[in-house]
Amino acid sequence: MSGNRSAHVTELLPEVALGGIAGEERGAALAHLAGCARCRRDLEAHAEVVDELLLLAPERQPPVGFEDQVVSRMRRRGRSRSPGRLRRTVVALAAALLGATAALGVAYLATKEQREFSELYARALDMAGGSYFGALPLTDAEGRSLGHVFGYEGEPSWVFVVVDSPPASGSHRVTLLTQKGKVLELGTIELRAGKGTLGAALPGKLQMLKVLRVSGPEAGVLRAVAPPSEGEG
C-alpha cells in the first residue's frame, strides 16, 4: 500500500465514521481499511467521537402512550401470518415499496401520476397473471441500505436480490427465513467491487418470506425484512 493512498484514506476516515460517504470513495476507504490495522484504529477513534456527539442530543419525552404504541406494533408484527391474508400482505408490502414516506402515513394515492402508476403496475402484473410486485431494502445492522430485494407473487413466485456494498467481494450466501421458521438456501451471490445479483424462484408464495439474508466474510450480514400485514392479530 503506497503512502499516498494511505494518506488519502486517512483524510476520508472522519466522513466514514460519520456515515456520510458512499460509492467509490466508500469502497476505496473500506478496501484500504480491510488491510490496514493502523487506519482501523484511527477509524475507531473517530467513531468514538461520533458516538459521543450523538449522545449530546437533548432528551425529550414523546407523547403519552408512545411506549404502548411501540409494544403494540411489535406484538402485531410478531404474530405469524395466517393463510389467505395475501391481500393485506400485499397492501403492507406496497406501502414498503413506496418507502419511508408511506411509513410516515403520508397519503400518496391522490395524484394523477400515482393513478397512472397504479394502472401501469396492474398491467405489468396482468402480463403473466401475477398478483404482486414489490421491493424491500437490504440493510446492514445500522439500517444503511446496501441493496434491494424485489419480489414477485405469481406462478412461480420469485425474488431478485441486488447488492451494492463496496468493496466486499467473493461468494456470499443468500438464505430465506420463512414465516414458519424454516431456512431455505437460495444460492450464492458473487460480489465484485461490492456489486452482485441473484434471482431465485420460490417453492411457494412470496408471502412465505419473513427475512432474506445475504451473508459473507466481507459484506457481513445484510437483511431484508418483510413488513407485517396491517391489522393482523
Binding site: P14, E15, I21, V49, V70, L104, D140
Partner: protein, 205 residues
C-alpha cells in the same frame, strides 16, 4: 483501547456493582426485547425513548414525524437485535445511529428547508435522567465535547452538526452552504480532529 473507552468501561463495571440488584444493563434489556418479552420490550423503550425521540425531534423539528421515526427506530432495533455487536459500540449509540439514519432519510424525502444547524448545536441540556452506566463519565465527556464545539469556528461547527445529526454528506453540505466540495470535506475533518483531541482519544499511530 482508548483512554475514553477504558474509563467508560471502568465506570460501567463500578456502576453495575451498585445497580445489579435493581436494574438491568442495556444489553440485557436488548436481549429481552429480542426475545419478545413484552415487559422487557416496554422497559427497553422506556429507557431510551427520551433520547431517540429527542434526537429525531432535534433533526426534524416536527413532533409527528419525530414520533414516527422514533417508533420505527424501536421496531427496527427489535427486528435486528440479533445483529447488535457490542464490540462496535454501545446500545445507546447503535440506537441513535439508526434514529439519525431514519431521520435523515425523512429529511431527504421532504426536501424541505433544512433545520438550522445552530438549533442543533443547542444540545447543552444535561440529561434529566442520566443512564446509570454512563453518569460517572458522561458529564465529563459531555462538558469536554460541548466546550470543544463552542470553540470551533462557526463554519466548521455547522458542517459537523449537519454531518453528525442530519446525516448530510460532504456534497450535500457543500450544496447547502454554497461552498466547494473540498471545502466542506476540510471543515468536517478539521472539526472532527479538534473534537477528537478534546476528548483525549489518542491517535495510536
Amino acid at each position: 483501547m482508548s483512554r475514553l473507552r477504558r474509563k467508560r468501561r471502568q465506570s460501567v463495571e463500578r456502576d453495575q456493582r451498585y445497580i445489579s440488584t435493581w436494574a438491568l444493563t442495556d444489553e440485557s434489556l436488548l436481549a429481552g426485547l429480542a426475545s419478545g418479552d413484552p415487559e422487557q420490550a416496554a422497559a427497553f423503550v422506556r429507557r431510551f425513548q427520551g433520547r431517540v425521540y429527542g434526537l429525531a425531534l432535534a433533526v426534524l423539528h416536527d413532533p409527528a414525524a419525530a414520533e414516527e421515526v422514533a417508533q420505527e427506530t424501536f421496531l427496527r432495533v427489535w427486528r435486528h437485535a440479533d445483529a447488535y455487536d457490542p464490540r462496535r459500540g454501545r446500545v445507546a449509540t447503535w440506537l441513535l445511529t439508526i434514529t439519525r439514519n431514519l431521520a435523515s432519510d425523512v429529511l431527504r424525502l421532504r426536501r424541505s428547508d433544512p433545520v438550522d444547524p445552530e438549533d442543533l448545536v443547542a444540545l447543552a441540556d444535561p440529561s434529566p435522567d442520566p443512564h446509570p452506566e454512563e453518569k460517572l463519565v458522561a458529564e465529563e465527556s459531555r462538558r469536554a465535547l460541548l466546550r470543544a464545539m463552542s470553540e470551533l469556528p462557526e463554519d466548521q461547527r455547522r458542517a459537523l452538526v449537519m454531518a453528525a445529526f442530519q446525516g448530510r454528506t460532504a456534497r450535500e453540505i457543500g450544496e447547502l452552504e454554497g461552498i466547494p466540495l473540498g471545502t466542506a470535506k476540510t471543515r468536517i475533518r478539521s472539526a472532527m480532529l479538534k473534537l477528537r483531541s478534546a476528548l483525549e482519544v489518542p491517535d495510536e499511530r
